[in-house]
């Protein structure tokens, strides 16, 4: 271990540990403690109840759909920002972060108004028989909106640093553009795409504010897990709230581990050794 000649370790580490303990560890620990104190039978009964399972299904499927939409749209968006020059490119680049900057409740009422049956998009869609607001489609749109920047921002730097020589080699060898994209470019982007996907998916699983306005919130149909945990709390059913929240916490930690692994892999490709 290196010699310590810089001052301030006790002070800064002390502040850090106290803050982390009070703000992060204590509440999460209390939640786990509460959920654990239920005992395995009660816990299982709550987390495997029909309504809870329906909420997991809706949350997972909608998050999956939103993430797939973002995979295509996010990759296309990163591609045009990096590879092409067009008027307004920097503006579009800056706009990508809007979903992160816009508070989720604001995004929620804006999307609901757009997609309500009398909204700018809702009215024409209703005319062709597609209902978005108060259906799972609305949940997907809210999730896609709030998690869009993840894929763009993880893929963008890798796309910027792709070695043109590899594409050139493909062209010299007579590969078509599509072949080069699929067999030369995509494999290089894959680690960062996967990392972006897992971040986007994780965010969608936990999203609340943007969704509850547009979802309709009908149990078994358009009720996400985060809302169910919230409802149980409002009903003073604390054990149920703790149990359901702990399921979300487990999902979050699983996604954190997956993302960590994928990002460590992605780094291996981007940091030049």
């Amino acid at each position: 271990m290196a010699r310590r000649i810089l001052p301030g370790l006790p002070l800064t580490l002390g502040i850090t540990l106290v803050y982390v303990a009070i703000i992060v560890v204590l509440p999460l620990g209390a939640l786990v403690f509460k959920a654990a104190s239920l005992g395995p039978e009660d816990y299982w009964r709550i987390v495997s109840s029909e309504r809870a399972v329906a909420s997991y299904r809706i949350t997972l499927l909608c998050a999956l759909a939103a993430t797939l939409f973002n995979l295509v749209f996010g990759l296309a968006l990163a591609w045009i920002i990096v590879r092409y020059r067009f008027p307004g490119r920097r503006f579009v680049d800056a706009l990508v972060d809007l979903p992160f900057a816009l508070p989720t409740a604001v995004a929620g009422i804006a999307l609901t108004t757009l997609f309500a049956s009398n909204g700018w998009f809702g009215a024409p869609l209703a005319a062709i028989g597609i209902k978005v607001a108060y259906t799972p489609l609305g949940i997907i749109i809210a999730m896609a909106f709030t998690s869009l920047p993840f894929i763009v921002r993880t893929v963008q730097p890798v796309l910027e640093e792709l070695d043109p020589a590899l594409e050139e080699a493909g062209q010299t060898l007579g590969a078509s553009d599509l072949e080069i994209f699929l067999r030369v470019i995509l494999p290089q982007l894959a680690p960062s795409l996967l990392a972006g996907l897992s971040l986007s998916f994780a965010r969608s699983l936990g999203e609340f504010g943007a969704i509850i306005f547009i979802a309709g919130n009908q149990p078994f149909d358009t009720e996400i897990t985060a809302l169910l945990a919230f409802i149980r709390l409002e009903e003073y059913d604390y054990p149920a709230s703790a149990a359901i929240a702990s399921v979300m916490l487990i999902a979050a930690f699983t996604m954190l581990a997956v993302t960590n692994l994928l990002q460590a892999r992605a780094l291996r490709y981007t940091v030049k050794g």
Binding site: L11, I80, A94, A242
Partner: protein, 297 residues
Amino acid sequence: MAQTKTRRPPRIGEAPVFRITLIAIVLVFVALVIVAPLAVIGVEAFSKGIAYFGKTIANSDTRHAIMMTALTALIAVPINTAFGVAAAWAITKFDFPGRRLLLIVIEIPFSVSPIVAGVAYMFVYGLQGLFGEALQSADVKILFALPGIVLASMFVTAPFVARELIPLMQAQGRDLEEAATSLGASGWRTFFSVTLPNIKWALLYGIILCNSRVMGEFGAVSVVSGNIRGQTNTLPLHIELLYHDYNAVGAFAAASILAALAVVTLIAKVALERRGAGRVRRPTLAGPSPTSPETKQ
């Protein structure tokens, strides 16, 4: 890579038809997905005219919500900033066992749903929670009051300043600080005259993002605030309340304030990125620390 600049290598996707079509399609989606929500806020907020907008904003509950949000940010952001700087200093200037674990713990709030955070706080300070009874007998109100809102806000934004500073300070190393202290500068002097000038833009960048999140946080605050109109409603909660009262214009008027804040945040972000902030490639989680700032420009 330098020699590649002299001639433009052939690259795929350069056929004009393909390029223009792809740009057009993506821009249409950007307009539909990103611009339209922003536009609809402005249009709805002013749909009954500027006078009505002014009246809505001047409503006492709305004014109170704005005050609550500002007050929360005034408390949470400085504390968070102090924490972020302290954490970055400890983690990047020293080696100690458990450093990587600490990095992971700091990043946890980033992956935990705000609702889970709110529920978790109920089990610390709520009547059902660890300190609930003690707090009640001491007559201290944490939940359904400002302290709870501030604590929940600090949870969701805990990583914001630290994760901007840590990769940057890691990349900058310890040499300058070690030189300063060996020449006799105190720790504070070293920080303010050596470290701070090198990290100021990244620090400001982190503070701005943190502030934006604190002022806009909905889920976690919604759980712990109790939603008491004119008392514990922050601006995002007030928007929900107005919206569910079928006062859409009022909700959008209040929302337009936060949307304007988001736009200002984005502009500040771009301006700071031009000064190099936010550009050190970060593995958001505790991976090996990046040492190569982006090479472009």
